[in-house]
């Protein structure tokens, strides 16, 4: 498992704000852990598809995290993985049936990717790394954070592909009728290329943030930092 600031610090109290920041940004499922690539690349031909795929995953994550946390004392260590998988599979099937009944059109679009949420390693990963060691409330917050971070990444990639590929965003014309659709972004290679650029952008932002943080810390801790501040910029 990835090193995770909140999951292995059982001695010190966990703050909900830290869990949120971790899931949304620092330890984001897509940007940092690079998990859940299959639904990410498969369904993000538009921002709307990305949003609903993310929402279904978020819901599955909340249900599984809270359940796993509630029964965390009662499951023997050796059979915990099959137990978690059964729980996740049950919730995903329930969500699939509900979508089929009440969101029929979106269910047809997402199709195979809904049952495939079961094998999204991001969900089992949170059950194993977080929910099995933390309280239901913290696990609930963790699910919200991780699921929202995942949804954010899906909508971002779906939005970029829809915008470049069709000149639209959430189905609305944005770049005008004369925009020459760059078809490649709707096709599978476009998913990889767009994801590459997004990851590069995220890494640049992270580096900048880290440099700023470092500069701030140095400035407050010693007078030597005076030299470091211009460097960071």
């Amino acid at each position: 498992m990835h090193s995770n600031a909140t999951s292995n610090s059982n001695d010190t109290p966990i703050r909900n704000a830290d869990i949120l920041a971790d899931g949304l940004w620092h330890n984001n499922t897509i940007f940092t852990q690079l998990l859940g690539m299959c639904p990410l690349l498969g369904v993000t031909t538009s921002a709307e598809n990305g949003f609903w795929m993310g929402a279904a995953t978020l819901l599955a994550l909340i249900c599984s995290n809270v359940t796993v946390s509630l029964i965390r004392g009662g499951i023997p260590e050796h059979v915990r993985i099959p137990a978690y998988i059964t729980i996740i599979a049950a919730f995903v099937s329930i969500i699939g049936m509900a979508m089929n009944a009440w969101m029929h059109e979106m269910y047809l679009i997402l199709g195979l990717f809904i049952p495939l949420i079961v094998v999204n390693c991001a969900i089992l990963g949170r059950a194993e790394a977080f929910a099995s060691k933390n309280t239901p409330i913290h696990s609930f917050v963790d699910a919200i954070a991780m699921g929202s971070g995942f949804t954010f990444a899906l909508v971002l990639l779906g939005g970029v592909r829809e915008l470049l590929g069709q000149g639209e965003l959430f189905g609305f014309e944005v770049l005008g009728a004369n925009y020459p659709d760059v078809l490649m972004f709707i096709l599978p290679p476009g998913a990889f290329i767009a994801l590459g650029f997004i990851l590069a952008g995220v890494n640049i932002i992270k580096q900048r943030m880290q440099a700023q943080k470092k500069a701030l810390m140095m400035a407050s801790s010693s007078s030597d930092a005076v030299e470091a501040v211009p460097q960071a910029k």
């Binding site: 031909t45 029964i71 009662g74 499951i75 023997p76 050796h78 059979v79 099959p82 137990a83 059964t86 729980i87 599979a89 049950a90 099937s93 329930i94 049936m97 509900a98 089929n100 009944a101 009440w102 029929h104 059109e105 047809l108 590929g165 069709q166 659709d181 078809l183 709707i186 096709l187």
Partner: protein, 204 residues
């Protein structure tokens, strides 16, 4: 063989998880069964509304089922005008040879066996290329009023009357071929005659 306490704990835990999950799934299935059927019915209804002319009956219940010896049964949806005369018959056919899997097509024919309208109801063709069969409205409308006798059933590239798309020939070719086959099946199995015959029986 002795089963230790620890092993009993594992067995009980897994059985409990499995039983509870199964019960939850069963309950959800019971709750969603009717809404899913309703949603599917509505999707079919919407598709039928697009291909059928104005009608005063309910084509989803007014059906005729043909069971050919060598293939799956086919359901024909019958559309009637206010005088209860048949003004169109619709059914679903599948083009198995799309660029990316099967293409599901809904076809409606007039009583003279010419096409009233067709719609693609399900496909996985390439967005921007093959999905012109859904988005290219003039292309879809070009099928209207065509019959086996008044059109050459192939894309222009193959010497026919139907346009292919730039960069996508396989998809339109598959659709044209499937519609042609469906029309041949409709003529050969004399569906129109069978439907009116079953009505006479029904009336008696």
């Amino acid at each position: 063989m002795n089963i230790s306490r620890e092993q009993w704990r594992m067995i009980i835990a897994l059985v409990l998880v499995a039983v509870i999950s199964t019960v939850l799934l069963g309950i959800t299935n019971m709750l969603t069964k009717a809404p899913i059927a309703q949603a599917q019915r509505q999707a079919l209804m919407q598709a039928l509304m697009q291909v059928l002319p104005e009608h005063s009956n309910d084509p989803i219940t007014d059906t005729f089922i043909l069971s050919p010896k060598d293939s799956q049964p086919i359901t024909f949806y019958i559309s009637r005008n206010p005088e209860q005369h048949i003004n169109a018959i619709a059914w679903q056919t599948i083009a198995p040879d799309g660029y990316n899997g099967s293409i599901h097509i809904l076809i409606a024919v007039n009583p003279d066996s010419s096409i009233h309208a067709i719609r693609i109801i399900d496909h996985q063709e390439t967005p921007g290329l093959g999905d012109g069969i859904v988005k290219n409205i003039p292309w879809i409308h070009a099928f209207s009023d065509k019959s086996l006798s008044n059109a050459r059933w192939a894309v222009r590239k193959d010497g026919g009357d139907f346009d292919q798309f730039t960069g996508a020939t396989i998809t339109p070719r598959a659709v044209v071929k499937a519609v042609k086959k469906a029309l041949q099946m409709f003529a050969q199995s004399q569906v129109l005659r069978l439907v009116s015959k079953s009505e006479v029986n029904h009336a008696q």
